[in-house]
């Protein structure tokens, strides 16, 4: 009898123990608040992107109300801050591509080669020395690189040794070369990551089949790491397009429609910086050009970044 009476009582007691006490309830509420606050912080970054889009779109749309897109995209003279103003964006586009091409020609092959060396050839001790040195190079501020490009690379190297014509005080060549050096560490580190993700069994297999080390690198490691290498290359393009300070210092601020790397050029990014220095009055057409060119630049780099992320995700080889 008593056991059957006792059992429900102790069961009740056990149940009430399981029911949340006041302090536990309070703690749960605290947890909920914390989660909400952290979630709000995370959404903040989305807010930033939306703000960028808004900041660019409205003035850019107003700009195209004043300047026809046809004039913008096909005009060959860029003089938005002069009178009479001219809004042909082509010189900026060719300038951007000239600097970008020179930078990528330096950064991609050299970066790839340096990555091969670090990943396949260097001893662990040499790696332990070289990696931090590359990190130092990656940490040099762009204004320092710009100074170096203008007052060392241009007079001491490009003006002396460029075989194809004269090099001016400001040149796309010096700017591009130094932008290339600036993105080199990023290229090396991303390419090396891709290479070290290739499993050793592939290396051993290649060597066992009597491949030389070079053949192993170019015929086994390179294809296996290709997706990572391509993604790194695309990012290198994006970084080269967006660089402002180096180009502004070393390539000057004269928008010219030219393919001659010995001349000074203006890129989209360096125009924005240049126009910003002039402190354009809000609402003027000059002020709005900053946003129109900025929108072009943002879209270009946005597409490149997305493409790079896609390549990594789509073609990543999962080894074990």
């Amino acid at each position: 009898m008593t056991p059957s009476n006792d059992a429900p009582a102790s069961f009740d007691a056990a149940l009430s123990d399981l029911r949340p006490s006041a302090s536990l309830k309070r703690r749960r509420n605290v947890e909920r608040v914390i989660k909400a606050v952290l979630g709000a912080m995370a959404t903040l970054s989305v807010g930033v992107t939306i703000a960028i889009a808004f900041a660019l779109v409205r003035p850019a749309v107003e700009f195209f109300g004043e300047v026809s897109p046809k004039e913008f995209l096909t005009g060959t003279t860029w003089a938005p801050l002069f009178k009479p103003a001219q809004f042909g964006v082509l010189p900026l586009v060719t300038g951007t591509f000239l600097v970008m091409a020179i930078a990528v020609v330096v950064a991609v092959p050299c970066g790839l080669a340096a990555a091969f060396f670090l990943s396949e050839y260097a001893s662990p001790r040499l790696r332990a020395v070289l990696k931090p040195v590359l990190e130092i190079l990656a940490g040099i501020p762009t204004v320092v690189f710009g100074f170096f490009a203008l007052y060392f690379v241009n007079p001491e190297i490009t003006q002396r040794f460029w075989p194809f014509g004269d090099v001016g005080t400001f040149s796309a060549l010096s700017a591009g070369l130094v932008v290339g050096i600036m993105i080199l560490p990023m290229m090396v580190s991303l390419a090396e990551d891709a290479m070290s993700a290739v499993p050793d069994s592939l290396r051993e297999g290649a060597l066992a089949l009597a491949a030389t080390k070079r053949e192993m690198c170019t015929k086994v490691i390179f294809p296996a790491a290709l997706s990572g290498i391509v993604a790194a290359t695309v990012l290198a393009f994006s970084r080269a397009i967006g660089e402002t300070t180096i180009v502004l210092l070393a390539a000057g601020s004269n928008p010219q429609l030219t393919g001659n790397p010995g001349q000074g050029v203006q890129t989209m990014a360096s125009f924005i910086g240049f126009a910003g220095i002039g402190d354009q009055p809000t609402g003027s057409t000059g002020y709005k050009t900053i946003f129109a060119v900025g929108a072009l630049l943002f879209v270009l780099t946005f597409v490149l970044n997305i493409v790079s992320a896609r390549i990594v995700r789509r073609f990543r080889q999962e080894y074990e």
Binding site: R28, E31, P141, L297, I306
Partner: protein, 306 residues
């Protein structure tokens, strides 16, 4: 076999001997050439770094004295100093560090510990952060010009708006490195804490964060040094002016070290280029101090954790 390898008496094992035999002279030549090419590429990076450091030091060395740090910017090269720029940089970078650290770590905690995996909005946030990290810095300057300096915030060209733009700029770096640091904490720590009845936040606060501190600290210091060297976005935020006073608060006008270097470097007078080079040395020393701190912090915490 021995006949074909007689020229190389160094082969030790049958396998090596076979490989040597198969490797014709041309292939070996290509291999040597390839190897030299790789070394040359690494050499180019090293050489550039050394050339940059040595050239800057030699150019700036005549003006590297206490006057440089004690004097304000001036249009007379003999008197030109960098004091207001150092203080401007300390203000802007310090503030952006103070703001971006909690927000960045908070975002990282949310994404690593709370966010439901695979939900569309979580992927949106992740993709968005990845993308923000790749946006050219000048675009953040445009954002600052449109929204912070002019309407709607109308903060003008002040320390506050400069710091806010730098905060937005380095936030992705803080988030990404904090996430990596949190991910590196062994899951057993979290599981054990939860199994002992700790709530999720107690687990994060008492177990996850302390073990992630070295990684978070390293990433944040890297972010701060990025902010210290950044010049492009602040071009649009009025930092490129002669400021002959140190900032006194958020609403004060300002200049920062990278932009004062820019200003001196682009001046027509060659004497200013010497001042620019000397200022670059000061900037590089500040960065060196930051990075050394990062390494020390990381090492000390790692030792304690073991």
């Amino acid at each position: 076999m021995s006949a074909t390898t007689s020229t190389d008496a160094v082969s030790h094992t049958p396998g090596e001997a076979l490989a040597t035999a198969r490797t014709s002279g041309r292939r070996r030549l290509f291999d040597t050439a390839f190897r030299s090419l790789l070394i040359a590429s690494v050499g180019l990076a090293l050489l550039t770094l050394f050339a940059l450091l040595i050239d800057t030091f030699l150019t700036g060395q005549p003006r590297l004295n206490t006057d440089l740090v004690n004097n304000m910017p001036s249009s007379r090269p003999a008197r030109a100093g960098i004091q207001s720029a150092i203080f401007g940089s300390l203000w802007c970078v310090g503030l952006s560090g103070l703001v971006s650290l909690p927000i960045g770590v908070g975002t990282a905690i949310y994404l690593e510990e709370y966010a439901p995996r695979g939900k569309w909005y979580v992927r949106l946030i992740e993709l968005n952060i990845q993308n923000l990290a790749g946006v050219p810095s000048i675009v953040f300057g445009i954002l600052g010009l449109a929204f912070i300096a002019r309407s709607p915030l109308k903060w003008g060209f002040t320390v506050g708006s400069g710091a806010m733009v730098l905060t937005i700029l380095v936030l992705p770096i803080v988030i990404i490195s904090s996430r990596e640091a949190l991910r590196a904490v062994p899951p057993s720590l979290r599981d054990g804490s939860l199994a002992l009845g700790a709530t999720q936040w107690q687990t994060i606060w008492h177990q996850m964060l302390p073990s992630a501190v070295p990684g978070i600290a390293t990433g944040s210091i890297l972010a701060v040094s990025r902010a210290l060297g950044e010049s492009a976005p602040l071009l649009l935020l009025g930092a490129l002016t002669f400021v002959t006073f140190n900032p006194t608060g958020l609403d004060s006008g300002y200049t920062v070290l990278p932009l004062l270097i820019f200003k001196y470097a682009s001046d027509a007078k060659a004497e200013f280029h010497t001042v620019a080079a000397a200022a670059i040395i000061v900037l590089l020393v500040m960065l060196l101090i930051l990075n050394t701190t990062a390494i020390i912090v990381r090492n000390r915490f790692q030792r304690r954790a073991r």
